[in-house]
């Protein structure tokens, strides 16, 4: 049953890729981080369709059935199950102190928080961290590689793929029975609702918005915020400003 489902998904993705390749006549300036933009946009559109017509209605039902309190207990439960992965990657990145804090958090929430349903550690002000194998690879110096949009999984990059596989092996949720896994998927999509709605509200090009914010946010996580005051500045535009200062002075905001 499972193998048939996987086969169907692969066939569907295959058709989608063929369609994308066949329609690559449109002229697009190649973005250095995203040379596969044409293909990525097609997969993005596919994911968007699946989300609009399948995931979103299901999640609306899930949110309607589950009371808020229970919903946050489910989120706590799955966040707690991410801790072993985080602790392992803390260690691999040489963050011994953080590994200790995360282990303490996991222990407290599992033992005192009924298997992680209650986030007891947050009352003790024990900070929550999230580390994954993609971040570890980055810390080890593996370059990110080109940007990719994966069918059903969304924004990614070459380095993220081995990262996701290792993380999947380290996540206890993936060894649970299928209803728990399904609940995990609903919970993840439900938690993403606000961000997805925000993108739809503010973005003039949602694909580009997703790509730019994803790449910057991952850099921010990897560098622990160090990239914020360096890479994100537009220092190189100083010269352009100077010759245009006068012109900008003349233009009115008009409000």
């Amino acid at each position: 049953m499972n193998s048939r489902l996987i086969f169907r998904v692969i066939s569907l993705v295959g058709i989608l890729l063929l369609t994308a390749c066949a329609s690559s006549g449109r002229e697009l300036e190649v973005n250095a981080q995203d040379p596969h933009e044409e293909l990525n946009r097609s997969i993005y559109a596919f994911n968007d369709g699946v989300d609009t017509y399948v995931a979103s209605p299901l999640v609306t039902g899930y949110q309607w059935i589950l009371p808020d309190l229970l919903e946050s207990a489910v989120t706590n439960f799955f966040n707690n199950l991410k801790e072993p992965k985080t602790i392992l990657n803390d260690g691999l990145q040489g963050k011994e102190q953080q590994a200790g804090v995360d282990f303490e958090r996991f222990l407290i929430n599992t033992l005192l928080g009924f298997g992680g349903l209650i986030n007891v550690a947050s009352y003790a002000d024990i900070e929550y961290h999230e580390e994954d194998f993609d971040q570890t690879l980055a810390v080890w110096g593996v370059p990110r590689g080109e940007y990719l949009v994966l069918p059903l999984l969304g924004p990614s990059a070459y380095r993220t793929i081995p990262g996701e596989i290792v993380d999947a092996f380290c996540s206890p949720a993936n060894y649970a029975i299928w209803p728990i896994q399904l609940l995990g998927i609903f919970n993840a999509r439900s938690n993403a609702t606000q961000s997805l709605n925000f993108i739809n509200e503010v973005a003039v090009d949602p694909y580009v918005f997703m790509r730019t914010s994803y790449l910057q946010w991952r850099d921010y996580q990897i560098t622990e915020g160090e990239n914020a005051s360096d890479d994100l500045l537009i220092l190189d535009m100083e010269e352009i400003f100077d010759e245009e200062e006068e012109e900008l002075e003349m233009l009115e905001i008009g409000l």
Partner: protein, 203 residues
């Protein structure tokens, strides 16, 4: 005599470096006041919550956003090389639309208050013309949101030209989006998109 000259020179250099350091402190102080002024008005509007409708929030935020942000320069940056291809009228229209959109986004998203506050963590002068103000939006029941401001010195003082939220630069985000829309669909399509956003925010 030579020793005296050397001493005077050393004293003079020391005095100059102290003066430069003091000036830098004064500049960072002014820049952080700009951010503080903007954030306190934002909180003020949030605290009035349901008492204000969208138009009232828009009108209340308009002067402070115009005073603290360099909206013309931000507009210039976000269309990158496309700027040079625009006519004067198009540039004018884009600045006006983008400025309206910026104020409308603040009026749309900052409309309720549940104990939020801002705290300035650090201020750093990156170059004579740029200052980086690192702040946090403190949420009562959630992790603090890192909200940093890049200010640029203009003829009218220090002005915000970029906001970086949890590592995501608003300027870079808008630049990649706006350039993409202009190149794919043209200037008019961008204006249509921006107008649609403004309308949506105001509803």
């Amino acid at each position: 005599m030579m020793l005296l000259t050397k001493m005077i020179t050393a004293f003079f250099l020391l005095f100059l470096s102290q003066l430069a350091a003091a000036e830098e402190v004064a500049e960072t102080e002014i820049a952080s006041q700009v951010v503080q002024g903007f954030q306190s008005e934002l909180l003020n509007v949030m605290q009035q919550g349901d008492k204000l409708n969208f138009d009232q929030r828009f009108e209340q935020l308009k002067p402070i956003v115009i005073k603290t942000h360099d909206l013309a320069k931000i507009t210039r940056i976000i269309v990158s090389k496309e700027w040079k291809k625009l006519t004067k009228e198009q540039k004018q229209e884009l600045i006006q639309k983008f400025s309206t959109l910026s104020i409308a986004s603040y009026a749309h998203y900052f409309k309720s208050f549940s104990g939020e506050s801002f705290k300035i963590e650090s201020v750093k002068q990156l170059s004579p013309g740029q200052i980086y103000v690192h702040t946090f939006l403190v949420l009562p029941d959630d992790k603090d949101v890192s909200m940093d401001y890049l200010l640029k010195k203009t003829g009218h003082g220090w002005r915000i030209i970029n906001i970086i939220t949890n590592g995501v630069s608003d300027l870079a985000l808008k630049r990649s989006e706006y350039v993409s829309v202009i190149r794919k669909s043209g200037f008019d399509a961008l204006i249509t998109e921006i107008s649609a956003k403004i309308k949506k925010f105001s509803q």
